[in-house]
Amino acid sequence: MPPVSAAPTKNSRVQALQRLAIQKDPLPSHSHSAPAQSGNPIYPKLPEISTDQPRSSSGSSATGDQARFARLRRLFSSGSTGRSSPPVEVDMEQLKKDCWMGIPHKLRPQAWRLLSGYLPTNVERREVTLQRKRDEYWHYVEQYFHSRFDDGNAETFRQVYIYFFSNISEEKYFKIHIDIPRMCPLIPLFQQKLVQEMFERILYIWAIRHPASGYVQGINDLVTPFFVVFLSEFVPQDVEVGSFDISQLPLEQCHLVEADSFWCVSALLDSIQDNYTFAQPGIQRKVLQLKHLMSRVDKPLHKHLEANGIEYLQFAFRWMNNLLMREIPLRATIRLWDTYLSEQDGFSQFHSYVCAAFLRTWSRQLQAEKDFQGIMILLQNLPTQSWGDREICELTADAFSLMSVFDGARKHLTTQSASP
């Protein structure tokens, strides 16, 4: 159990853990509550921040949230407002602590850039670094992709490309090409040709720069949260990001969204590379880990699955390969990534604990299914359509407590709470 009990008012994460420690069943009360927002927007907005007054009903964490939101706002204020200028150097530990429970939507783009290690912590270096990285990306596009459309350059491009990357060029391009239109079919944003071309470039450039894994289906999904978050910066308040018409955006801003998405998804993929190399050892290992974990934290469910011939790889492969993105709505994924980006090894380690917490969320329903097909069909279609901030808060808190118990996260917690 988490050893931290002193000064709970300072840390809302600890509060959430304590709340959870009291509960026996992770999600007993509101399995199908309606989403807070109407029309299922894809871009998550934390309820506490969309109004000036925090809702009194939102429980004990409201005060804590207010304090951390204030800290975050100060961190990202432009400084020109005259009140309190932001610090020159961002305290990453503090930032991670403040972002772990969810990031206010307006601050999210900049916070994600920082947490991804893309934006320098030092304010003075930011402008220069961002410009350089964005230029670098467009240089890649120029080098690898752009010339593809130009008849005169096509052959040179092909030769250079084949020389470096053997025989995979056309096959790889075709693969990505086939994936893009099949992406998020229900979200209009991703059906726009302009958006699909942006994704093609991002994926293509990434794939040719990472020949060891190359493009693997599912990687396209991992671009979407970054894309939506960075795009949200330029989408008017009253417009839903998922139905935004990207042709209304100046080209310069499109370029910025694309380059930033590329660099951040690259950083993410670097941390889970063995998920996508030959035989996908990272995924095999994590699924095994999930199985071990479940055999200890929810034995009845584990036994139920085994008795019915369900193998973890049969359903959890996708959970690992696509980081649960196929299982929960995009807005919940984005909120989940607030936490992943704030957690040490969030995508590579913590995710396994989140999967265990996720699986045991459905323990009762799964045990009510009495045969193989019933269980498999449910596992492939878990009813998460209404999921949002609250469910992710509980999921991540549960996962964190699992990690504390099973991964010796004692040390981790101590260092976390050591900073003021």
Binding site: P181, R182, M183, G214, V216, Q217, R318, R326, D371, M376
Partner: protein, 211 residues
């Protein structure tokens, strides 16, 4: 969930294999839901589908594993071949490369399944006649050469989809009836109803067949 979940005599396990984008998931969806999914997301690893059919008066539950076509997932999808009673091998009649890869799919299927596994060849997207890249006769000759049953289908219109799944089941059932498929052997991909209840032994109750 449903009433009388044990109202069937056998479970047959199928796999669907073939190159990326040939329409494997759409075929499965058309078969289980009788609907065409125009924007079907690509399959990650494997996906599961099920439907009860009737062959010679016997109710048979099909457990179908739809595999991802991408090469990278092969390490995972290969483990589903073992224990398949039927394998639907799919190519796209509008893309010759998917047809050219059939021999490698077939090698995999032969090596990794059991000798009794019924392999059925499907040329999908028969609704796109104008874009045809593989003549029917050519594929038919390939099928005959390799002892496969062959049909051209359309997951979009539903043409021949039902027949492909049913014909495969008929062949498996026939193999059971004439004794060439030994129900007591391992990994046949066929489970008589009785072995489903965990307390009873492995001996299947002999059903009278009306064929």
């Amino acid at each position: 969930m449903t009433a009388a979940p044990y109202n069937y005599s056998y479970i047959f396990k199928y796999i669907i294999i073939g190159d990326m984008g040939v329409g494997k998931s759409c075929l499965l969806h058309q078969f289980t839901e009788k609907k065409f999914l125009s924007d079907c997301p690509h399959t990650i690893g494997v996906e599961f589908g099920t439907r009860i059919i009737e062959v010679s008066g016997q109710k048979i539950k099909l457990q179908i594993w739809d595999t991802a076509g991408q090469e990278r997932f092969r390490a995972v999808t290969r483990s589903y071949y073992r224990g398949a009673a039927g394998a639907l091998m799919v190519y796209d009649i509008t893309r010759r490369s998917t047809y050219n890869h059939l021999s490698s799919w077939l090698t995999d299927a032969r090596n990794l399944t059991n000798p009794n596994t019924v392999i059925f060849l499907i040329g999908n997207k028969s609704d796109l006649e104008g874009q045809r890249d593989v003549p029917y006769e050519e594929a038919k000759a390939f099928a005959d050469e390799n002892g496969l049953t062959f049909l051209e289908c359309s997951a979009k219109t539903g043409e021949n989809v039902e027949d492909s799944f049913l014909e495969t089941a008929r062949k498996i059932y026939q193999n059971i009836m004439d004794g060439s498929l030994d129900l007591n052997a391992a990994d046949t991909g066929v489970q008589p109803k009785q072995t489903l209840s965990r307390n009873s032994g492995q001996t299947p109750e002999k059903k009278d067949c009306n064929c």
